[in-house]
């Protein structure tokens, strides 16, 4: 499923960019604002829709580097960010 594959690749990258638990917790919180549930290890624990991914990109403005990574990864999966 495109949305899940894209999100999982983003999270795999995010785990290498947001290595500290503090930064991971920030990403969990930001994701929840988009209706996306992540574990504290940055694993996807719910289904996800295109609309939620678009909302996530908007909400990630608080985490600049993670947002840059997200746009790059989601573009690979056909999104136009």
């Amino acid at each position: 499923m495109k949305t899940v594959d894209a999100m999982n690749e983003f999270l795999s990258n995010a785990r290498k960019l947001a290595v500290s638990q503090k930064n991971r917790d920030r990403l969990v919180e930001v994701s929840s604002r988009a209706g996306i549930t992540l574990s504290h290890k940055l694993e996807l624990t719910s289904d996800i829709s295109d609309q939620q991914i678009e909302k996530l990109i908007t909400e990630l403005s608080d985490l600049a580097i993670i947002k840059i990574a997200a746009k790059r990864i989601f573009r690979k999966h056909g999104y136009h960010f």
Partner: protein
């Protein structure tokens, strides 16, 4: 090569004879800032002196003081490899401690921009192949890497230790304070360089120029301005990684968004 595996906020690290890492990690924003100092006899060169943000400059200044035993008048040259604020906004702050005969150098096209950071002294323009000899005859060679990512961008090669100061090339986003590239680094590098570069052609020229330097003179260490140092045994691996890097992706995304046919 240093045996240390991480850097901190208080200790400069000697990576190779006379080459000092003055880096400041950035856990919150994953954008470490890494100036370098090169020492030869009584003279020092600072490469990409860094940010004007107080929390960054204070660390860099303390590390420079540590290496130079408190005598910053030994800094005779400052080299800026392109005009980004994270590389050179600190110059006006550093001017409080250096002497009038300390010279600042930058690529020609970057010189035009750098002067606007407010340094009192002239920024001397550099061309491809220019060299700087200082101290006890230590030689630095400057190789221009245009549009990678600015028209006036360059890398600097120290022939004594075969160290390449690559500026943003081989740089990466990192929230940690690892000194050398590790298993997380390819992703960190791709996320930074892949997004901050727009031209594959510019990247290919830069890489081929670096490979030419390696073939002609040898490169034992790559020291970028962000992220991690690339040791000799990983240089081939990272050259291959960067050769495969996709760049300029935001153009296609925005073209699609705005209905522009490229």
């Amino acid at each position: 090569m240093s045996n240390t595996t991480t850097y901190n906020r208080s200790d400069a690290i000697e990576l190779a004879p006379g080459i000092f890492h003055l880096g400041v990690s950035d856990e919150n924003n994953s954008f470490a800032n890494i100036p370098y100092l090169i020492l030869s006899g009584d003279e020092a060169v600072v490469i990409d002196p860094g940010s004007a943000r107080e929390e960054f400059f204070a660390v860099v200044l303390a590390k420079i003081n540590q290496v130079l035993d408190g005598d910053l008048t030994r800094i005779k040259h400052i080299v800026v490899q392109h005009q980004d604020a994270d590389l050179c906004a600190a110059i006006p702050l550093l001017e409080k401690y250096i002497t009038e005969d300390c010279k600042v150098y930058a690529p020609l096209e970057a010189q035009v921009i750098i002067q606007h950071f407010g340094a009192k002294r002239r920024v001397n323009p550099l061309d491809d192949g220019d060299t700087l000899t200082f101290g006890e005859g230590r030689v630095l060679t400057f190789a221009m890497t245009p549009y990678c990512h600015f028209v006036g961008a360059m890398v600097t090669y120290d022939s004594q230790t075969k160290t390449l100061f690559s500026s943003d090339a081989f740089g990466g986003f990192s929230s940690e304070n690892d000194l050398y590239a590790n298993d997380n680094y390819p992703i960190q590098l791709a996320t930074f360089l892949g997004e901050y570069l727009g031209s594959k052609r510019a990247l290919e020229y830069a890489l081929k120029r670096i490979e030419q330097l390696d073939a002609q003179h040898g490169i034992d260490l790559i020291c970028p301005q962000h992220g991690c140092v690339i040791p000799k045994n990983k240089i081939s691996e990272y050259l291959a990684i960067v050769h495969e890097l996709e760049v300029g992706g935001q153009i296609d995304a925005l073209a699609h968004k705005n209905g522009i046919i490229m």
